[in-house]
């Protein structure tokens, strides 16, 4: 069972992008929506945690849950709750001191569910807290997988990404994340395009038409060459005899 999804993952060159705007206000943090019964088909969920502290010491808290589906088409969705009043204030404070907003996800495999438990450690990424605030919590989270479906990296950027120092007045802008979530498998590097090149060469050859039956050089000009050679031979023989005579004289 495990090998089939892997194969499928390899085949799916174009990653499925599933965008989920987290507008559900009622979602509980960390509650796994996919229950034990249908994990094989509807995937599984891993926690997405974030940390933003004024003193820059990481204290990760639950931000939401990632629903990963490693089926024919790998897909991912995110359910996350709103930021609390306290969190909003902290985030603003962190932004004011140019602190970092960090997220992390555990290392998991999308295809092989057995090894998920064995892997430890997290994949971490960060973005400047001020840019997150100024973009009104619109972030793009990208998950990268390797050839065998392991998550190898996570990245977060905000759009726009700059910190211009604009004040965010409206508290409502900092309540809910506007997250774009993608999962990117590795692209296959191209092989040398020999077949196409040969095909093109053939077409060009055909276009030019069949070349006329090429006569060899000798076949074309034998009537000139034979007399010339004969003439040279004759004169050469004379020279030789002359030369021999000269040599003889020299001795």
């Amino acid at each position: 069972m495990a090998s089939v999804p892997r194969l499928c993952l390899l085949l799916s060159i174009i990653p499925t992008i599933l965008i989920l705007c987290a507008d559900f206000a009622c979602c509980n943090t960390g509650r796994k929506t996919g229950d034990g019964l249908d994990t094989d088909f509807s995937g599984f969920s891993v926690p997405l945690e974030h940390s933003f502290e004024v003193d820059d010491v990481s204290r990760f808290r639950m931000r939401g849950a990632l629903q990963l589906r490693g089926g024919r088409e790998t897909s991912v969705s995110l359910s996350q709750s709103q930021l609390s009043e306290e969190d909003r204030n902290t985030l603003k404070e962190v932004a004011a001191v140019d602190g970092l907003y960090k997220i992390r996800v555990p290392r998991v495999s999308l295809t092989d569910r057995q090894t998920e438990r064995q892997m430890d450690g997290y994949l971490t990424a960060f973005v400047r807290a001020c840019s997150l605030v100024e973009s009104h919590l619109s972030d793009v989270i990208t998950l990268h997988t390797d050839v065998s479906g392991y998550l190898i990296g996570v990245s977060i950027v905000t759009i726009p990404g700059a910190c211009r120092g604009t004040e965010v007045e409206d508290e409502v802008d900092l309540e809910a994340f506007n997250t774009t979530l993608t999962i990117i498998p590795p692209t296959n590097a191209p092989q040398p395009e020999t077949a196409l090149f040969i095909e093109r060469m053939d077409i060009e050859h055909e276009k030019r038409g069949k070349p006329q039956e090429q006569k060899s050089f000798f076949a074309k000009y034998w009537m000139y060459i034979v007399p010339l050679v004969l003439f040279l031979m004759m004169s050469g023989a004379q020279d030789q005899s002359g030369g021999g005579a000269a040599n003889g004289g020299g001795r």
């Binding site: 970092l100 840019s131 050839v147 190898i152 395009e193």
Partner: protein, 978 residues
């Protein structure tokens, strides 16, 4: 229609690209130095008196011949790397050089005149022990090769095996030596350690006699026994402090005869293993009966075995004496002894071997280099003068693998720095300005002190400049009158100064740590060497000997301050790190003079994980080096108050990355104000799938001139120029040809964002790659098609720039467009590097080192993922070469024409002051320096530029205008009068 045009495009592009050296340019801008490595065996050609050949076999598996008058390489045979090509022994007889290669695999005979191979014989399996010539009636006809379990005799003329005999009890007896004294028998000596000695005599025709001698004290024949005189085995036992003699050829059961050292009034230094040195001048005769006994690190005694074969007479005591050797010419054998003279020199003297008398007027002085190693071995070439007295020349091998050839009365004929055969890393440093230029520069460096003094200073410096210019003119004039060829441009460290276009630089090279086992003090010397080489001539200007560098050390050479900050001297730092423990040390030096800097480097008690050079400079203009230890603590060097303050201010914008390839872990850190660090990102590549083999950022001194590429429709495709981008190359752990792959990850070193992730299927390493500008070129082995392939990745932002003024990794949310194309390359490669120029205007070339020793300058134009498969109007407009799957190799692209660089290991490129010119150094076994002009010399007038013609034409035109103007005026005036 499209075909001819495409062909035309290719032809045209090639026409532009084609660059080759004209015959008269050979050696004008390039030089090559050939090395052979550490000498294992050296022999002088004693075949004829007038011969001046020297034969060396080295640890780099090279057999070479030198001209001993000049030190020039006559010929060289480079064998395979590794144990397959190791030279076990080199023995010389007449015109034949016999060599056992590859741990007893092959027996080769070389013609010493021309260096041609006479014959090669494949030997039976078994590890090699010893070999010697076998002579009958004064003519050497055979060579005996002793293996662990067999002895074979080969004809010298054709290598055919005369006979082979299995040695009895070879599983218990260690056969270690073979001896022939010119009689009809060959003796094989074996030992059962601490039990007995076995002597087997083989007659040349056939048959064997086995003798066994009790010798419970003997553990190794090889290290403690020699044969002297009429076949007497002389052994030394350090436990009982006694010499033992044994006649090998004795008919009946022989016995060891013990002679206590005490009875000879000799005393061994404490803890020293005594060593015997003997000499057999001719294989057809027995060895001489004199021998040296080394009793201490610098204590030797010349002893003589008396004619009775039992008693020993002490001829002379040499203390102190570093090295001893025997040399023979004609019938005379002399002992050569090296004694210390003073701190900076050693004396070498000749002594008559049979009497121990010193020969008059034979002293040679060997200068000791404080920046070199100590003398290690002597090779003496003795010859008879006309008045029948002995003269000699000495080849001294020092611990740093250097060879020095000296002749009387102490003239160093030549020196070869063989440590340069193993360069591991290098840098090129600009030469300092001349004194006058520096004076002018110094004016700007100082603070203003009033208007009047400033004017005075300016005037004085202008006068100095004028003076220098006049002196230069005078010199030119003076030298022009001298006949050609007499003008010598000797490069010394004093006359070094930057030339007009900064084409001459100082090459600082670091050699791999060498190992030298010294018999004198039972101590292994581990060292590495630094060399300063003039890039124009290739002459070694300075060298520095670094002691106690572990053999597995890795080096990183960092230029902290260039020569641009007069009067502060330039400063380089060599980071030496033990690969196993991670402990590191710093060596700070001046790269122009090689002198150690007085600045004390910080103590580094903890293993160092990462070092990074910051663009931050201290008040003395030295860039700050940050060293991160295993507790993620940061040490700054230099760590002045100023620097620490700057670091605190900049801390939040200093990011660095660490890579642990054993765990597949890449992580990023940010510096905090208190110089501690925090981990901010982490990417983990599971090691069960793939392992990281190489990580490469971009070169910090690289400039990119154009931000984008103009396309056929006049729009601009902007390059993605991320200075923090890392290229991470992985190889799959699964080596099966169908499932193996090579991964290429482009990771931002600040944010840890994976910019691109490509997988090359059915591929495996070794992967060579270059990362520069907005592209990565990598080369791998295609396991399916069984060929080498090149792949190029280029990153573009698109037709619009996100933020055109400044690049920040933190503010670049959109991923770049990635284009990739792959080509077949018809040759394996050994190393790859890209050209580098001052401003980055010149087009780029890839310099590819091929195993053949050629260095290919491959235009980057051929590695362009935008090469179209179908030629269109736009692509023609852009000058794109139509796609062809195979990359050509044109011989005119070989920048080193016929000067092949053996075993090329690395290529270093440096910009020069001329935009068109890039300096290239290829190193491996040889060192080759040249210049390349990727876009031809667009900013230089040709050598044969006709100044006379141009100026005469100009003048002629000028006068013609004047005259015609005058004529026109006259004509107008005349017309007006009419």
């Amino acid at each position: 229609m499209s075909k001819p045009t495409s062909l035309f495009v290719i032809f045209f592009s090639l026409f532009i690209m084609s660059e080759a050296v004209f015959e008269d340019q050979v050696g004008k801008f390039d030089w090559r130095q050939q090395y052979v490595g550490k000498t294992l065996f050296a022999h002088f050609d004693s075949h004829s008196q007038s011969s001046n050949k020297l034969f060396l076999a080295t640890d780099k598996n090279i057999f070479a011949s030198f001209n001993s008058r000049t030190g020039d390489l006559l010929w060289r045979h480079v064998d395979k790397v590794g144990p397959e090509g190791t030279i076990d022994i080199l023995v010389l007889h007449g015109q034949d050089a016999l060599m056992v290669v590859g741990g007893g695999r092959l027996l080769r005979s070389w013609d010493t005149n021309m260096g041609g191979l006479n014959w090669e014989a494949v030997l039976d399996t078994g590890s090699f022990q010893a070999a010697c010539f076998v002579a009958i009636q004064d003519t050497v006809k055979h060579v005996a090769v002793l293996k662990k379990a067999a002895i074979s005799l080969h004809y010298l003329t054709n290598g055919h095996q005369k006979w082979v005999e299995n040695l009895p009890d070879s599983d218990t007896v260690q056969y270690q030596a073979v001896y022939s004294g010119g009689e009809v028998e060959v003796y094989v000596l074996g030992v059962v350690p601490n039990s007995h000695l076995t002597i087997i005599a083989y007659s040349l025709e056939d048959g064997e006699i086995i003798k066994s001698v009790e010798a419970p004290w003997l553990s190794s024949v090889e290290s403690s026994c020699v044969v002297i005189g009429q076949g007497v085995l002389m052994c030394v036992d350090p436990a009982t402090l006694a010499l033992y003699t044994l006649p090998i050829q004795a008919e009946e059961a022989p016995q060891f005869n013990q002679i206590l050292l005490q009875s000879l009034d000799l005393e061994v230094s404490l803890g020293f293993q005594p060593v015997l040195v003997s000499s057999q001048p001719h294989p057809a005769r027995s060895p001489i009966s004199e021998f040296f006994l080394q009793l201490g690190p610098d204590h030797h005694v010349l002893l003589q075995l008396n004619a009775d074969g039992y008693t020993i007479a002490a001829l002379r005591d040499f203390q102190p004496a570093f090295l001893v050797s025997f040399a023979t010419t004609g019938e005379k054998t002399v002992a050569v002894v090296m004694t210390p003279k003073n701190e900076t020199a050693c004396d070498i003297n000749l002594f008559s071997a049979d009497s121990g008398r010193r020969l008059l007027d034979t002293t040679v002085i060997f200068p000791l280099d404080l920046n070199g190693g100590k003398p290690f071995k002597l090779y003496v070439h003795a010859f008879l003068k006309k008045d029948d007295s002995v003269d000699y020349r000495v080849l001294v091998q020092t611990q740093d693998h250097a060879l020095t050839f000296i002749q009387q009365p102490g003239r160093v004929v030549w020196t070869r720095e063989e440590a340069l055969a193993d360069v591991v890393t290098m840098e090129m440093v600009d030469l300092p300005l001349t004194g006058t230029q520096a004076e002018l520069e110094g004016e700007f460096g100082k603070k203003a002190d009033g208007l009047f003094p400033m004017v005075l200073k300016r005037l004085s410096s202008q006068v100095i400049l004028l003076q220098a210019w006049l002196a230069h003119l005078w010199k030119l004039f003076y030298e022009a009158r001298k006949p050609h060829g007499q003008v010598k441009n000797e490069v010394t460290i004093e006359t070094l100064s930057r030339d007009e276009f900064n084409l001459q630089k100082m090459m600082v090279m670091v050699t791999a740590s060498g190992k030298c086992w010294s018999r004198q003090s039972l101590f292994i010397f581990v060292w590495s060497q630094l060399f300063g080489i003039d890039s124009k001539s290739g002459s070694i200007l300075w060298k520095h000997y670094l002691e106690n560098v572990q053999p597995n050390a890795v080096f990183k050479l960092i230029v902290q301050r260039t020569t641009a900050h007069f009067p502060h001297p330039p400063q380089c730092t060599l980071l030496i790190k033990d690969k196993d423990t991670g402990l590191a040390s710093l060596h700070v030096f001046n790269p122009i003079f090689g002198r150690k800097s007085h600045i004390a480097p910080p103590a580094l008690p903890r293993p160092i994980l990462q070092s990074l050079l910051l663009p931050v400079i201290d008040q003395d203009y030295a860039k700050v080096l940050l060293l991160v230890d295993d507790q993620y603590k940061v040490t700054a060097f230099p760590s002045t108050k100023n620097v620490l303050q700057q670091l605190q201010e900049m801390a939040s914008s200093i990011f660095f990355y660490l890579i642990r390839s054993d765990q597949g872990n890449l992580s990023g850190f940010r510096l905090r104000k208190d110089l501690s660090t925090e981990r901010i990102w982490e990417v983990v590549l599971p090691t069960e799938v793939q392992k990281i083999v190489a990580v490469n950022g971009k070169r910090p001194n690289e400039h990119v001139h154009s931000q984008g590429r103009v396309m056929g429709d006049r729009s601009v495709l902007y390059k993605y120029l991320n200075p923090n981008l890392l290229a991470v190359v992985t190889e799959s752990t699964d080596a099966h040809p169908e499932r193996a792959f090579v991964g290429v990850f482009l990771v931002d070193g600040v944010t840890g964002r994976i910019i691109h992730e490509a997988v090359q299927r059915k591929a495996r390493g070794p992967v060579h790659f270059v990362h520069s500008e907005n592209w990565v070129v990598y080369e791998y082995w295609n396991t399916k098609s069984r060929r080498n392939e090149f792949s190029v990745l280029e990153l573009f932002e698109g037709t619009e720039l996100y933020n055109s003024t400044v690049f920040s990794s933190l503010d670049r949310p959109h991923l770049p467009q990635v284009l990739q194309q792959t080509y077949i390359f018809p040759s394996p490669i050994t190393t790859m590097e890209a050209t580098l120029t001052e401003k980055g205007i010149t087009s780029r070339h890839l310099l590819v080192g091929l195993p053949s020793g050629a260095i290919l300058s491959l235009p980057k134009m051929f590695l362009d993922p935008r090469r179209p498969e179908v030629v269109t109007e736009h692509s023609r407009e852009e000058n794109l070469i139509p796609y062809a799957p195979e990359m050509p190799i044109r011989t005119e692209w070989f920048i080193n024409y016929n000067q092949t660089v053996a075993r090329v290991k690395g290529i270093y490129t440096a910009p020069s002051g001329l935009e068109s010119t890039c300096l290239v150094v290829a190193y491996g076994l040889d060192i080759y320096q040249t210049r390349v002009y990727p876009s031809k010399q667009f900013d230089v007038l040709k050598d044969d530029y006709d100044y006379v013609l141009i100026s005469s034409v100009l003048f002629a035109l000028f006068f013609a205008t004047m005259i015609s103007k005058r004529l026109a005026q006259v004509k107008l005036l005349n017309r007006a009068w009419r």
